[in-house]
């Protein structure tokens, strides 16, 4: 079960014709899929479309009623391959993943489905993880569209437009027999807005219909000679059909005042940010009215030459607002202008940054520069800095005050880190302690929460090569003697591909390295989705398939299972054994403890109910005695738990802040284990609060209280003799 539940929100998926839908972008996309009569959906979770997978998972009742199949795909490649169902049959299908990393994984299947083409509409919803908040390499999905000739939609980021483009996307796909990508940036995925809903539609042609009467068309299969024919078809049939559809349905929009000497061409997804920048520069109002002509590309690939020529004709200069690099659209536009022999100057990345996100501030400055350079071309329209615009009142803020600039050096960084009570933390504490014995180690990391080991306070890890590729990333270090490399892999990455690329590969090549598989029971970093080895019951998926069985199944001989990662001593001993054993071949440690975030979400309400119901419940948590803590913070450097923090020293003579366990502590016990294993300090204590005690509890407590109280009073009396 995922971290966030959409069980209430999915009721909105039932809103019918004419009703107003209000909610998040992701939910609107799901609604649009149902309105389009989609037959099957699938995908692989990852921000910013994790919630789309969660919504689909929580919406299974609605999906079942409509006869829509939902697949939690094993990887993005598996999701893309599922689009095969639309090759021979008029069934609409949609898949989703995080891009560009997911698109990288999917591109084998994507290229194949794009080659043979589709009969039913095939839509790929890509969560574009670019710019602020992104957790991945910064690349563009645009290149994938170009290399495989898949059409790329980039709708204006309001729900009305997004929903409209989902619906049109299917039609475009069918009209041109080509899969279509719909790109949604992070904020568009999470935007709260509204649109006018339509009724949901059950697919006209079902998956069962297909199985009952299978269609085989050898010309759709990627094998010579058909594969050569596909390339011709793409250029001579599908491409023109797509252009005709885009033109006819006016998917791209002409906005602003027509005519004029200068204009702007913008990716649809950047429209809102551009409008704010125009408004701040005094050439638009907040309703989107502007004197500048705009050409909004809701379809960024392919481009419609004739619309671009029409837009540019008669203009001196046109600004292209295109985020990311390389500047594919700008290059294409230049070619179009050159071929049409238009003298219009195309202005792009010389005024706007070549790389990085186009934020409000970036576009504000870019527009200002563009207007300054070409404003005289606008004739009677207002110049920048006109009193109509808010610009004049903003002159002062351009340069923040000295005091504020000085803050830059003061504000603490806040790198992401492991959650309170996270069971992965002790694994890295153990590695840190092991480094004290063996010297520093080469650690090949993977993608997932465990990658936070590279950041403070652990500072462990050398590379990360992609999801599930932790072990493969250490493959070259198969040195015959001396220190071994450690590879880390999460359970999510393990099932995604790590079982074959990492474990299988290590067995086959007889690597001598150590692999630690972090088994927390979920795809935790993407929001706690269930996977094959999850221990939880899942209503619709098959779980509880142990990682250890799979590892042994591919031939690993040296395997150690740790069923409680918080046992730091055992963790350390096992790691040491793996690093020093004389045995050859891969050494695999499966370190299992449930993701604390998910465990708390499950157990807290149960515990609260039990306490309210009068049952005896013991709740554990940790504390630090401020008067024995001397403020060295070794415990924090070896733990990094958010609940283990600091506060000013209550002691007037001591100056260093003391460690402090705040109320978010879940009592996992790592800080105590660390104090033991690293021989740190006697300040940690573990407290157990007893709720609804039994009579026996009470009697014992009374006796203990009496004895201890007596002794304490005696000590207080003695101390009174030598107090100040």
């Amino acid at each position: 079960m995922a971290e966030r539940s959409f069980s209430q929100e999915v009721l909105k998926l039932r809103i019918g014709e004419g009703g107003e839908f209000r909610g998040e972008g992701i939910l609107a996309v799901t609604k649009a899929l149902l309105q389009s009569g989609v037959g099957y959906v699938g995908g692989y979770q990852g921000a910013p479309i994790s919630h789309l997978m969660d919504v689909l998972s929580d919406a299974q009742d609605v999906l079942r009623e409509l006869g829509v199949h939902f697949e939690a795909s094993a990887s993005e490649a598996a999701a893309a391959a599922m689009l095969a169902a639309s090759v021979n049959y008029p069934i609409r299908g949609a898949v989703t993943w995080k891009s560009t990393v997911g698109t990288n994984v999917a591109s084998d299947a994507l290229a194949n489905v794009a080659s043979g083409g589709v009969t039913g509409g095939a839509l790929i919803i890509m969560g574009e993880d670019y710019g602020e908040g992104s957790s991945i390499l910064q690349e563009r999905s645009h290149a994938f569209a170009m290399k495989s000739q898949i059409w790329l939609l980039d709708p204006r980021p309001n729900l009305e437009s997004i929903v409209h483009m989902v619906e049109r996307g299917f039609e475009l796909s069918e009209a041109s027999k080509t899969p279509v990508m719909l790109e949604l940036r992070i904020r568009a995925c999470h935007v709260y807005g509204r649109f006018r809903a339509k009724d949901n539609r059950a697919p006209g042609f079902t998956l069962q219909d297909a199985l009952d009467a299978p269609v085989r068309d050898v010309t759709r299969i990627v094998l010579p000679p058909a594969s050569f024919e596909h390339e011709q078809e793409k250029i001579h049939k599908r491409w023109p059909a797509a252009l005709a559809f885009i033109r006819e349905h006016r998917l791209n929009e002409f906005m602003g005042r027509p005519g004029g000497k200068i204009g702007i061409i913008v990716q649809g997804g950047l429209y809102n940010t551009l409008m704010r920048a125009l408004e701040l520069n005094g050439v638009a109002d907040s309703l989107g009215n502007t004197d500048l002509p705009l050409y909004v590309l809701n379809v960024t690939y392919p481009l419609l030459d004739e619309e671009i020529v029409r837009f540019c004709t008669g203009k001196t200069a046109v600004l292209i607002v295109e985020e990311g690099q390389p500047e594919f659209i700008e290059q294409n536009l230049n070619m179009i202008l050159r071929k049409a022999d238009l003298p219009t100057k195309l202005v792009g990345k010389e005024l706007l940054p070549r790389a990085g996100e186009y934020t409000g501030q970036v576009l504000d400055r870019g527009i200002e520069a563009f207007l300054r350079q070409y404003a005289q071309e606008m004739g009677d329209s207002p110049a920048p800095g006109d009193s109509r615009g808010p610009r004049s009142s903003r002159g002062a803020m351009r340069e923040p005050s000295k005091e504020i600039r000085a803050l830059q050096g003061i504000l603490p960084i806040r790198p992401v880190g492991f959650c309170t009570g996270c069971p992965e933390r002790p694994i890295f504490t153990a590695m840190k302690l092991l480094q004290r014995e063996l010297g520093s180690l080469h650690i090949s990391c993977d993608i997932g929460c465990h990658l936070f080991s590279i950041l403070p306070p652990f500072n462990l890890g050398n590379t990360t090569m992609g999801y599930g590729l932790g072990a493969a990333g250490a493959a070259a270090f198969n040195s015959p003697r001396g220190k071994r490399a450690i590879a880390v892999m999460g359970d999510g990455g393990f099932w995604h591909n790590g079982l074959t690329s990492g474990v299988g590969g290590s067995v086959f090549n007889q690597t001598d390295n150590v692999l630690v598989i972090v088994d927390n029971g979920y795809a935790a970093a993407t929001g706690g989705q269930d996977i094959l080895s999850s221990r939880a019951d899942n209503r619709t998926k098959s779980t509880k398939h142990p990682i250890a069985a799979a590892v042994q199944g591919v031939g690993v001989k040296w395997l150690r299972l740790i069923d409680r990662t918080y046992d730091l001593k055992r963790m350390l001993d096992t790691l040491r054994e793996a690093m020093t054993t004389a045995e050859k071949g891969p050494k695999v440690i499966v370190a299992s403890s449930e993701c604390m975030l998910n465990r708390q979400r499950r157990e807290r309400p149960q515990q609260n109910r039990a306490i309210a119901g009068g049952a005896r419940v013991v709740r554990a948590r940790f504390g630090v005695d401020a008067d024995t803590c001397t403020g060295d913070h070794s415990c924090i450097r070896l733990s990094g738990c958010p609940s283990l923090t600091i506060r000013p020293n209550p002691d007037a003579l001591r100056q260093d802040p003391v460690a402090y366990v705040d109320n978010s502590c879940v009592g996992c016990g790592l800080c105590g284990e660390v104090a033991h294993a690293a021989v740190l300090c006697p300040s940690f204590y573990r407290a157990q609060l007893v709720f609804n005690p039994t009579l026996w509890d009470k009697v014992l407590a009374a006796i203990r209280g009496a004895i201890i109280g007596f002794l304490q009073r005696a000590a207080d009396a003695r101390r009174a003799h030598h107090e100040y």
Binding site: Y192, P390, L407, T420, D625, G640, T645, C681, P693
Partner: protein, 514 residues
Amino acid sequence: MSIDSGAVAGSRTQRPLSVAIAALGGQGGGVLADWIVAVAESGGWLVQSTSVPGVAQRTGTTVYYLEMCPRPADLAKEPVFALMPVPGDVDVVVGAELMEAGRAAVRGFITQDRTTVVASTHRVYGITEKSALGDGIAEANAVLAALRGAARRLVCFDMEAACAQSGSHISSVLFGALAASGALPFARDSYEQAIRAGAVAVTANLAGFAAGFELALRNAPVTGVIPPGPAPKSDAGRRLDAQVRATFPAHLHGIVVEGIRRLMDYQDGAYAEIYLRRLSEVSRWDAGAGGMARGYALTAAVARYLALWMSYEDTIRVADLKTRRSRFERFRNELGAAPGQIVHVSEYMHPRFQELCDTLPAPIGRRLASSEAAARLLAPLFRRGRHMNTTRWAGFTALYLVAALRRWRRGTLRYQVEQARIDAWLTRIRMSAADYELAVEIAECQRLIKGYGDTHERGLSRFAAIMQFLDRENDGPELAGRVRRLRSAALADEDGHELGAVLREFAAPHEAAA
């Protein structure tokens, strides 16, 4: 779609109100954004919100961003809401933590002409602040001062404390403070209605809202005054107090009395007298070295560090502190235990062979410590950490008996070792008193010695390394500055790389000369 807009920018329409919420994961920024959406919609406004939540983890910062405006008469012409704040164009900044409010200022979201800032002054420390070997806490006053200078209106108080008092979550206190700030044109009722409609922890959230609302109206200024210590209660205390008044400059009374209070609590009045005797001597050297012009900085530094060193953390001290009644009251309080609730506490202790020797009478302890056979024989006893349950009588009594060894402390090995170290340190300070700054720096080096076990040994060895440097280098130029650099290098990292590097750097000219 696809309508060629023929409209021309005419008279300026009302601009949308923009709200940026800077929160840390887990502070409920998303809930707060949802409430604001509900308030705006109940007021008949159009509203858009968005955010950039990262991965599922609970640390990093998230900015939630909302824009809203009254629903236009012509619904066909809806405003174009932006998806991210633009510097200089934000009406309200909500900062759920002080440094995050500061970060919003750095990003240019807070401007004098329009931004109302609703922020909590409490701190959630960043990992670099937490993991520093000494004091790494960022300077909060600079942030407060900058916010005060930058905002049009600043509503700022400790909302974490307010939510602890009202038993609610900080998001509800922020919501209350936002309502009271008057930055948004909605009635108090509609805010409370939004909480009720959310149907989650309604009572607690309404209490938090009310607290936030009222405190924002009062907006108590933040102060940080430390109250003066209480007067002496015992005869011995009064005698020593009189001695302090007679011997030390007035502005040092506070810190010297703190030292006395600590050492009487640690051992007894006689031990505090040793402290006073040592400190009086230092104050004489200080006066002789022209300390008056420097506010007797040397005496002040030694007053602090001598008290800390003399109250070194031995097993007796730990057992004493762990078994006190005041400590039991404190942990019950910190744990939030209800009156009468049963609480079990077990301590994480890792006594080592060394600590056993330290606690024995000096001659025996010394012989045992140097006996390899004994170390080998007793090693199994000290291999692992122990859990001592101080709320059960066996565990409590064991520690209680150790604490009772206090009266024999002066005979222990550790006592002798520490007193010798202290005397050596004081001698070094006296020898350096001609170079006043250097003497102060040497006094400050005591700061490196703290903690237990490995931590204590590490601190001690770094202290020793600096003292050895001084042995080699007794009259070089800028010696005080170099000691200061060495000290901060010793606190820079756990592995001692920085200290090693600086020591090598200082040693280099010697080698060149040789």
